[in-house]
Amino acid sequence: MPAHANRIDVGDLNVYYGSFKAVEDVSMVIEPGSVTAFIGPSGCGKSTFIRTLNRMHEVVPGARVEGKVLLDGEDLYGADVDPVVVRRQIGMVFQRPNPFPTMSIRDNVLAGIKLNGARIRRSESDEIVEQSLRGANLWTEVKDRLDKPGSGLSGGQQQRLCIARAIAVQPDVLLMDEPCSALDPISTLAIEDLISELKKNYTIVIVTHNMQQASRVSDRTAFFNIEGTGKPGRLVEMDDTAKIFTNPSVQATEDYVSGRFG
């Protein structure tokens, strides 16, 4: 499978909710095959920003962007671009695990394919289910109960099921919006291990509140900040993770990663 068509360029991006500017003037490059972490205090716009990378922000009425997001040179916000197709290529995992309650584990994994109306053979779908669940380190735990509802799993298992569901459609990029914030430490560890596995095949962007997590899993880290309530969030700096955590070039970043505020 091609795992290289996935460099993201963001240029001068502003995000608005109605007339409120939530994120201002963000430019960054996300390299293929890397793990990029977004850190920053609450309300700094990092979750809002990550949702603009696959046009999920459009789900909220009144949300809009100015600027460019290029996936391998193609603008996600171009005139003829269908957000549905964008999301097929840039998958997303959410803060709280959200398996579809009416579907079995198996159907959850296949949801992205089946709900698009594609008809596939049983053998083929079995293969996709196994591959995706193996890819999410969940196969051995659920292989005997694929027809049970996905909501019967533990929180950490549910989140891995959601990851399996996201990778089943074979996206190029995987966005994760605080994927571990609702999980216990053991499940968090399992997800972090999974992320280092997944980066072989996918470009990963992860929003996290947990700085240890950012330093453990990511190659690059972007620090977002906000000057005050009502002000838009901004990208303060972005660099190699090691540099951000040891020798950042901006004072605010150092204050944040050393725990002086936030």
Binding site: M56, R87, F100, L115, N116, G117, R165
Partner: protein, 367 residues
Amino acid sequence: MTTDAVPATATGTLTHRRLPRYAPAVTLALSAAVGAGLSAAVGFSVPAFVVGALLAYMATITIAAGVVEGRRKAVDRLVTSLVYAAFGIALVPLTSVVWSVLANGLPRFGAEFLTTSLRNVTGLHDQQAAEGLAPYIGGAYHAVLGTFLITALATLISVPVGLLASIYLVEYGRGRLARAITFFVDVMTGIPSIVAGLFAAALFGVLFGVGTRNGFAGAVALSVLMIPVVVRSSEEMLRIVPNELREAAYALGIPKWRAVVRVVLPTAISGIASGITLAIARVVGETAPLIVTAGFTSSINNNPFADWMMSLPAYVYSQAMRPLSGSTPEPSLDRAWAAALTLVIIVMALNLVARLVARLFAPKNSR
């Protein structure tokens, strides 16, 4: 000194003079006696006895509590007895309704009643039956059939329209159109059923000639009443589907309409089905709109698009108000009660089904 005082003050401040626990029971018994005496004075009757006893009880317990426990407790006891009394009074008509339907409806209710129509049954038959010369005949098959057909048609019209409109309101609607629909759906829930009937009658009069009456016109009238109920209950159910599920679907690159049809609707389906069942239960007993749209008949009519069609509520109404035999109305009244019982059974069954559906098919969110 202080050690002496502690036990004494403790009992002194925390306990208060109270009526003994048996006080209400004793008072009630005494009041019953007083009530009996009072009602005997005005010529004994059950209502007079009950009212007398009730007033006596309230007065006694309030005064006693006022003297022993203080004013606040007295008010509390008075309100308590008022609340219990309200409940007791309300029980009288409500149990009486249920009892009347059962006691009067059961004698004629049965397979024969449900499988025969009223065709060619006349007042003469009723008179002979009342005199014991002939068996009671004449059932409500045609009315049950008509109710079934008309309600089914109304459901066929209302459910797609109502469900789609509620999807519009929840998933698509923003701005003026959505607000207008929400507002007018609320207005529609308040339309008197007879007005809905007049609308359908006038509509069919204009389209197919004055005086056109058939089952379909009845179904249209019922739809006017049913659509807002379906919209509101479905809307409520769709709104409680968590947004997270919609986002999960969108993030998989699923077009919105498929996300709605394959993820949102299945999640809410038990509530929606239950709401629809309750809407059916509501319109199945509607009488007034059918009287002016579907008319009356004593014969079986399988075709809702032509000729007058009987329904159960209209059957109850016509048997009660226009007995077949003016001189011996009892057989007709018995039929009215039996039909009323049938109707109540249908409505109760629908309510029960709605509850079961809501409970059984609810998505299992817990582990």
